[in-house]
């Protein structure tokens, strides 16, 4: 009898230690710092998770628990979104520092943490933050060829920020002098209650003439050009 009582007490004690592990999602890297050309393993666990998104992959196959190997070419923050029925989505970040990395060549907006020059706000009734994040990643990176950085400034938010990319559609052949233009986007997704996701979409357009390498921001009188580009991205995000 004493044996069963002791066994019950032990199981209660063990369960009290184990329950926070299953309630709180875990996301960790085996090596938080690697040398250039090296790799690290990212692993996560959250038993109730039924859907997940990892910034380097897109939607993940095993949201409740998995391990993936990553080989970043510069210091990278990996963002993981885990979702479970009836619970708020969890946005987790794991930073992998790369020593001796040269970094990428793209030109980035000055401050990735603030919205860019032209802003538009939308609310979308999506059932999943992960699915919407995967959609944004696919449109910006795969369809439009942008270099994308993802980070999470708040626990319910994921931000996609792109490097500037020259786009022939932004140029006007009859414009004298002929200008080159480039555009960068920033998309912030914030999970709201009752399945509503707030989307802050902002863009920055810069121009230069053929012989001068300096880039200048497109002025406010070009807001139509901004609006067209922002609306176009929003249509792509909704269409996918």
């Amino acid at each position: 009898m004493m044996f069963f009582v002791a066994q019950f007490a032990l199981s209660v004690v063990l369960a009290s230690f184990a329950s926070p592990m299953s309630d709180e999602p875990l996301f960790k890297a085996d090596k938080p710092e690697i040398a250039a050309g090296g790799s690290a393993s990212l692993s996560w666990q959250w038993n109730p998770a039924t859907r997940g998104y990892l910034s380097s992959l897109g939607l993940v196959d095993h949201p409740s628990s998995d391990t993936v190997r990553v080989s970043p070419d510069e210091t990278t923050s990996y963002v993981l979104i885990l979702e479970a029925p009836g619970l708020l989505p969890r946005v987790l970040v794991q930073r992998v520092v790369v020593r001796g990395a040269k970094g990428r060549s793209g030109d980035w907006p000055d401050d990735l943490f603030v919205p860019l020059a032209y802003q538009a706000d939308y609310d979308i009734n999506s059932t999943s933050l992960s699915v919407l994040a995967a959609r944004v990643r696919s449109v910006l990176h795969d369809d439009r060829g942008f270099e994308v950085r993802q980070f999470s400034p708040a626990e319910d938010q994921i931000v996609f920020s792109t490097a500037f990319l020259q786009n022939a559609k932004l140029n006007e052949a009859n414009e004298s002098p002929r200008k080159f233009r480039r555009i960068a986007y920033r998309v912030a997704l914030t999970a709201g209650k009752s399945g509503l996701i707030h989307v802050n979409l902002s863009s920055s357009i810069e121009w230069r003439v053929v012989v001068d390498n300096r880039w200048f921001p497109e002025n406010s009188s070009s807001s139509d050009r901004y609006k067209i580009q922002t609306d176009d991205l929003w249509s792509s995000l909704k269409a996918n």
């Binding site: 004298s176 002098p177 003439v209 053929v210 012989v211 001068d212 390498n213 300096r214 200048f216 002025n219 009188s221």
Partner: protein, 150 residues
């Protein structure tokens, strides 16, 4: 008929080559200015700095040789009975002048007409000329413009 110049004539011919090339270079930059920099509706601050600097840089590289040539060209008294001189140094002087100026004009054309060179690269190239290619200019400056003969 063989056309041969005396020393005064040769001096003024060399000065003419340099002067024409300076005008050609300034014309190219003026064309660049009017086609690229002037038609901007609302120019941003510091927008014209590179083109303004280019005018000054071009004048700066032409100033030392042209000043020397013009000063001595005007200072020498014309000879009433000029002797004809050997054409070899004169041909070398003309060729060296054309090479020096040709390099500037070709690079300037790449910038102003063909747009295969940006203005910052051209501005970086200009200061190299007076030092790096001075061996093309100095010998004939010394020969023609410091010679006591006339």
């Amino acid at each position: 008929m063989r056309f041969r110049l005396n020393l005064d004539g040769q001096r003024w011919c060399i000065i003419s080559v340099w002067f024409v090339c300076l005008i050609a270079n300034l014309t190219l930059v003026l064309y660049l200015d009017s086609s690229q920099y002037r038609p901007i509706d609302a120019p941003p601050e510091t927008w014209r700095e590179p083109i303004n600097k280019l005018y000054l840089d071009l004048l700066a590289i032409y100033a030392p040789p042209l000043t020397t040539m013009l000063a001595i060209g005007f200072a020498r008294k014309p000879n009433s009975s000029p002797r004809q001189r050997s054409s070899a140094p004169y041909v070398f002087a003309i060729c060296a002048s054309l090479l020096w100026n040709g390099i500037v004009i070709v690079q300037n054309s790449r910038l102003s007409v063909f747009h295969t060179l940006d203005i910052q690269s051209f501005a970086g190239f200009l200061p190299i000329l007076p030092g790096g290619l001075s061996f093309l200019v100095t010998p004939f400056l010394a020969f023609y413009f410091s010679s006591e003969q006339s």
